[in-house]
């Protein structure tokens, strides 16, 4: 069973590398952002699988932190280009 988890995790890592192409090609920043967002989810999935296959404590907490903060980068990008961070 743990081999299956690892196998799927391996597949996800490979998908991630393949998907980097979209980050690099763009063409708009939003495409890159979208791809980065997908990688966040993929990484969470990998973590869940690793947690199950290794049985190590704390791995789920890593996934929890990542999922909690998953939208920060997206909001950062959108608001940095829209909101302009004007000083007080």
């Amino acid at each position: 069973m743990s081999q299956l988890f690892l196998g799927v995790a391996l597949l996800l890592v490979l998908l991630l590398v393949g998907g980097l192409a979209r980050v690099l090609q763009g063409p708009t920043p939003h495409d890159r952002l979208l791809a980065a967002q997908l990688f966040g989810t993929t990484a969470i999935a990998i973590l869940l699988l690793l947690a199950e296959s290794s049985g190590a404590a704390g791995v789920l907490d890593v996934a929890l932190v990542l999922s909690l903060l998953a939208m920060v980068s997206v909001v950062a990008f959108i608001s940095c280009s829209r909101g302009r961070g004007a000083p007080e």
Binding site: A36, L68, L69, M71, S73, E88
Partner: protein, 315 residues
């Protein structure tokens, strides 16, 4: 070749490819996105290598704070499409040869290193009952090498003071992002804020037994603060300058005070008596988490300068 190894190779490959692209991507913003992915991948590596404490820290700092800082900086410092200029001191082949040589030397040396020597891990474990925490990493950070960690909190304090010193006269270090975030984003943030605070509390409490601790908790709090800042409601603007200074310094000062209390109890500096060690460490960790959170969110919030050159120039 086992499946484990294939997975490790793929993961290392992904990390290396991401690192190379982060620096060399033709478009700056693409490199920055790949850099954020690099951070996430590194936290996967820490998990694989049995270091969940680091993985949590990396995830919280990378996804929450560094990501926002570099994206914001990239927005200001140009998202140019032209090939970025490089230094051309050496001819191409020579620089590649030098690069290859450096790589081979590093790899060669690293491969001669066997798994750790010495009996330090055993000693760490043997003395654990006297430390008052079960998580070995926390024990090293706050008890055995607590003095280092105190200095490290000092490093964060210096960074915060440096950023504060940079501001122009009369300028508030916290800026506001002026835009109308869609209600969806505000709503999501409203759900995440209590979630983040709970998570930080959990990590802080958990840190004495399992993966977690002051830095992780502080980083999660800071990430939530960054999110709110991005949505135009910077938490740091809510406190007075004095209160902010107090929050920045509380970790460093409290660490020192608890260390001195240990002296009055008859020990050396930072020598917590076994009976009191657990609560003392928790007191330190709570204060440190607060300072880490305020410092990191300040490092983000203070990024945009007055008289921002690109103000209004970028869509």
């Amino acid at each position: 070749m086992t499946l484990e190894m294939l997975f490790d190779m793929a993961l290392v490959g992904a990390v290396v490819v991401a690192a190379a692209y982060a620096i060399n991507a033709p478009v700056l913003i693409a490199g920055v996105f790949v850099y954020i992915v690099f951070g996430v991948l590194l936290s996967l590596v820490w998990v694989r290598l049995g270091a969940p404490d680091l993985a949590i820290a990396e995830a919280a700092i990378g996804a929450g704070i560094t990501g926002a800082i570099v994206l914001d900086a990239a927005r200001q410092m140009g998202m140019e499409r032209r090939r970025n200029p490089r230094l051309r001191r050496w001819p191409g082949w020579l620089s590649w040869a030098a690069t290859a040589a450096v790589g081979v030397i590093f790899a060669g040396v690293f491969l001669t290193v066997s798994e750790g020597r010495g009996d330090l891990p055993q000693r760490v474990q043997a003395e654990l009952p006297r430390v008052g925490v079960e998580n070995e990493v926390t024990a090293v950070l706050l008890s055995y090498r607590g003095y280092d960690t105190w200095f490290e909190v000092g490093v964060l304090l210096v960074a915060a003071l440096g950023v504060l010193a940079l501001r122009a006269p009369g300028e508030s270090p916290a800026r506001r992002f002026r835009w109308d975030p869609p209600a969806v984003a505000d709503g999501a943030a409203d759900m995440l804020v209590p979630g983040g605070i709970l998570m930080a509390g959990y990590l802080l409490w958990q840190g004495s037994r399992g993966p977690g601790g002051a830095f992780q908790a502080g980083a999660v709090l800071a990430a939530i603060a960054v999110l709110l800042t991005l949505l135009g409601r910077p938490p740091i603007a809510r406190v007075s300058d004095r209160a902010r200074d107090a929050l920045l310094v509380v970790g460093f000062a409290d660490f020192l005070l608890v260390g001195l209390v240990a002296v009055t109890l008859g020990g050396a500096l930072f020598e917590y008596p076994p009976a009191w060690a657990a609560p003392m460490i928790l007191v330190i960790e709570s204060a440190v988490a607060v300072s880490v959170a305020v410092t990191l969110s300040l490092l983000f919030a203070a990024g945009g300068a007055a008289g921002d050159a690109s103000e209004g120039g970028v869509p």
